[in-house]
């Protein structure tokens, strides 16, 4: 397998010592001339930024795409982007389009220069005392997934900022072609995953079960292939309504019978596709059109159904929570879930909804991340009878930080915020207790 490595930058740690520039110039040119370095330290751009800039060896490099003379190549084995001096016409377009300002013209050398990762042992990283530069060797995992075929059609029409499209495209890269997908009525088929009219939304078999029978239909499909002696991934991408509410009996029956299906609940905490009605997983205090904010009540008065924990107690052999803000974590969990043979593998994916929760579409991942970092939605997994945190947050940020940016919580009074805190702490405490055994 090709190994794709990468420099990672932590600008907050950079102290502007310029040692990286010096080290790069020395190793590449034998001089101390920083204008001949392949890495530079910059400051005071439009947004306060202060730190090193360097080529990030993009998957689809803009420099490569714009080069009029075909002088830029990306090595398919190493992922390194390099310049063929013989072909380069010194037009400098590459230096203009690079979104990271990671490619430079050296007047002294009279050529365009850029980082080549020093044969896998970058000099700049070695000299960076504050740790602002890091050589990531595990990036290959992400590259591996990114290089796999996208099994969904282009042009899925999800709301702006929705992470479901990211999730299903990412998931299918891992699940692969030997998969049958069920997407019960909700946002995912709503944005065209199954298709419209005579067009298909996916390159794998996909269908609409009823909102109420996803697990049962998948069980029937899986058992057919088990009898045929064929291994097929049989997977649900279901919303919270089809999982926690009207589809719950079907799911519960499937777990009890030990049906070997992979069930992913994409939880956006309500019936968002039909216009923001409350579901069993809508959290306490949240506004929806059916838990409105009025004179006598303000938002939902009951806490959400703790579905992943119910699945643990139900005896599902593998249960995990996941978030699009921690895709690597989710990817590992999905791979584990695919290997389960003894029953229902269940993943509960937190899916913030900019439309229904009332926050700007560009904040989706930020909201996802905050939910984890405030322990509002901790990341954990349950396998072989044991629970563990996969992204432990020992010192959580206050839950107010999470609630603050989300419109559906904008009406909350202090008492309600305290109640949300209490629920989060209770659930986190329960997880901790169960882990201590």
């Amino acid at each position: 397998m090709s190994v794709f490595n990468q420099l990672a930058i932590h600008p907050e740690k950079c102290n502007n010592c310029l040692d990286c520039e010096t080290a790069c110039a020395r190793i590449k040119t034998g001089t101390k001339n920083p204008t001949r370095s392949r890495i530079r330290t910059i400051k005071n751009l439009r947004e306060p930024y202060y730190g090193p800039v360097v080529c990030l060896q993009c998957t689809e490099p803009d420099c490569l795409n714009i080069c009029p003379s075909g002088a830029i190549h990306k090595n398919p084995e190493t992922g390194i982007v390099s310049i063929d001096e013989e072909r380069c016409v010194r037009c400098l377009l590459c230096t203009l389009v690079c979104p990271y300002s990671g490619i430079f013209y050296s007047a002294k050398d009279k050529k365009v220069i850029k980082c080549d990762l020093c044969d896998g042992d970058p000099e700049c990283v070695k000299v960076c005392e504050p740790g602002a530069l890091q050589f990531l060797k595990h990036a290959e995992t992400y590259r591996e997934w990114a290089s796999k075929e996208d099994l969904f059609s282009p042009g899925l029409s999800a709301c702006m900022g929705c992470n479901s499209e990211l999730i299903i495209r990412f998931s299918l890269r891992i699940l692969g072609k030997n998969t049958i997908l069920a997407t019960p009525p909700g946002c995912i088929p709503g944005f065209g995953a199954v298709g419209y009219s005579d067009t298909a939304g996916a390159r794998v078999p996909i269908f609409h079960p009823l909102l109420s029978n996803t697990a049962a239909m998948l069980a029937g499909i899986k058992r057919y292939y088990q009898r045929m002696g064929r291994e097929v991934n049989v997977v649900a991408f279901a919303g919270d309504g089809g999982t926690a509410d009207v589809g719950f009996q079907s799911l519960s029956g499937a777990v009890e019978r030990g049906e070997n299906i992979l069930y992913i609940c994409v939880d956006n905490e309500g019936y968002m596709n039909t216009g923001i009605q409350r579901s069993g997983t809508t959290p306490f205090g949240a506004w929806t059109t059916t838990t409105p904010v009025g004179k006598t009540s303000k938002g939902k008065t009951r806490e959400s159904k703790n579905l992943p924990m119910i699945m643990v107690m139900h005896g599902a052999p593998y249960v995990a929570t996941a978030s699009a803000a921690f895709l690597g974590d989710y990817g590992q969990k999905l791979k584990k879930a695919m290997k389960v043979k003894s029953g229902v593998a269940y993943i509960h994916l937190f899916s913030p909804c900019p439309t229904g929760w009332r926050f700007p579409p560009e904040k989706t991942i930020e909201v996802s991340r905050l939910a984890v970092e405030t322990n509002f939605f901790p990341l954990w997994e349950y396998e072989k009878g044991a629970l563990r945190f996969t992204h432990p947050v020992e010192h959580p940020r206050p839950v107010e930080e999470y609630l603050r940016g989300i419109g559906k919580y904008s009406h909350l009074n202090k008492k309600q915020v305290d109640e949300i805190k209490r629920i989060s702490e209770k659930r986190y405490g329960m997880l901790k207790t169960l882990m201590q055994k």
Binding site: R203, G220, I221, R223, Q249
Partner: protein
């Protein structure tokens, strides 16, 4: 070599399933179908039937699991009754438009309230517009034979529709009769394996099943479905004939005519009352009355041409309804038959009985025929009669 055994209707249905070799059975016990689930479980446990038994948590999941297996390409079997059918309604009305040739028996039961667990055809007739083929049978041998025929009808490439075989709860489900078990090799010759291509979920041939479908295309699907129902008329007749050639038993296809050749009056009925009805016809004929019985086997598709043909010479008709049709003040068969016989100007009376497990007796048939005979001569003042109440 056919074996003769004495079994109740539920066991006859189970034998019909066994001989049809489904790869999966999913069913939830409900009175009066319950013994069927027990029999099938035992057959599978004993290795008599090599199939997956899915012990579902309700009828909704029973049919849903089978839809999944059928979508993957399997032949499947289930059965239900009354409230179970009601709980199953959501996947039920989707099975036929998905064109999945699932076979489901209904041990018919009356609806609640008031609370009632006994026979009546209300459950099955209520879902007659769910797009399935519905065949009503008279005795246990016909249950067994019709289950086998149901697969052959439903899986016909021109049809591809699910089939209900409806037998009267308790009157057939719990009553024992002598039944011949057809030879498996003959059944295998009659019923080849199911190999669908029209709708199939398989990673080797990716297909999107049920994308959002806009109006005109949607209408085309409905039109195709209705055409398949119409074509099913000929297929039901043909399959019944083929079955007769191989096994020596046939049932008239869509409609069975009993002593109708020279009949002046006719009774029309569905299901087990036809057995008593035939005896009643024999007896009244001994008195010189030219009476006959028409047994409607197929309620969906409704055999209007065959019925018109059977009844065109008669002077008065009595319909026996083991169900009611809300809004018409009659039974369902009465409404359906009246629509089919628009071109005949003969009086049609309706007799409602057998509800909630009550008997339809020989006396009831005699009462009905007397009223029909009277309608032949006098003007009709009362169309609907209730057995035991009128």
């Amino acid at each position: 070599m056919e074996e003769m055994i004495v079994v109740d209707g539920n066991k006859a249905a189970a034998w019909g399933a066994v001989l049809s070799r489904p790869m999966m059975v999913a069913a939830y016990p409900i009175t009066p179908q319950t013994p069927l689930v027990e029999y099938l479980s035992q057959f599978i446990a004993d290795g008599v039937l090599d199939a997956d038994l899915v012990e579902v948590e309700g009828e909704h999941s029973a049919l849903s699991v089978l839809q999944g297996a059928s979508l993957a390409g399997g032949r499947v079997f289930t059965g239900t009754s009354g409230q179970g059918l009601a709980f199953m309604f959501e996947p039920y009305i989707r099975t036929a438009p998905l064109r999945l040739p699932i076979v489901m028996v209904i041990a018919t039961r009356d609806g609640i309230s008031p609370q009632c667990v006994w026979g009546g055809q209300q459950d099955a007739v209520t879902v007659r517009d769910g797009g399935w083929i519905q065949i009503y049978v008279e005795n246990n041998q016909e249950i067994l034979d019709t289950v086998i025929m149901a697969y052959k009808i439903g899986e016909d490439p021109e049809i591809l529709l699910p089939v209900n075989v409806c037998y009267d709860g308790f009157y057939l489900s719990h009553m024992s009769e002598a039944v011949k078990i057809p030879d498996q090799t003959l059944v295998d010759r009659f019923l080849p394996p199911y190999k669908p291509t029209h709708v199939k979920l398989d990673p080797e041939t990716p297909m999107a099943v049920d994308p959002l479908t806009p109006g005109i295309l949607f209408t085309q699907y409905r039109q195709g479905h209705l055409e398949a129902q119409e074509k099913a008329k000929a297929v039901i007749e043909r399959v019944d004939e083929e079955f007769g050639h191989l096994f020596g038993r046939s049932y008239g296809g869509l409609v069975e005519n009993y002593r109708m050749e020279d009949a002046e009056i006719a009774l029309v009925a569905m299901g087990s009352p036809c057995g008593t009805g035939k005896v009643a016809i024999d007896r009244i004929r001994e008195k010189g009355v030219k009476a006959g019985l028409v047994k409607v086997r197929s309620l969906r598709p409704f055999p209007r041409e065959r019925l018109l043909d059977s009844l065109k010479g008669v002077k008065a008709i009595g319909v026996i309804d083991k169900n009611v049709c809300f809004g018409w003040g009659t039974g369902v068969l009465y409404v359906e038959l009246s629509a089919a016989l628009q071109s005949l100007s003969v009086p049609i009376l309706d007799f409602i009985g057998g509800l909630g497990g009550s008997d339809i007796t020989f006396d009831h048939f005699e009462f009905a025929m007397n009223r029909v005979l009277r309608a032949m001569k006098e003007e009709v003042t009362q169309t609907v009669h209730w057995f035991s109440l009128d």
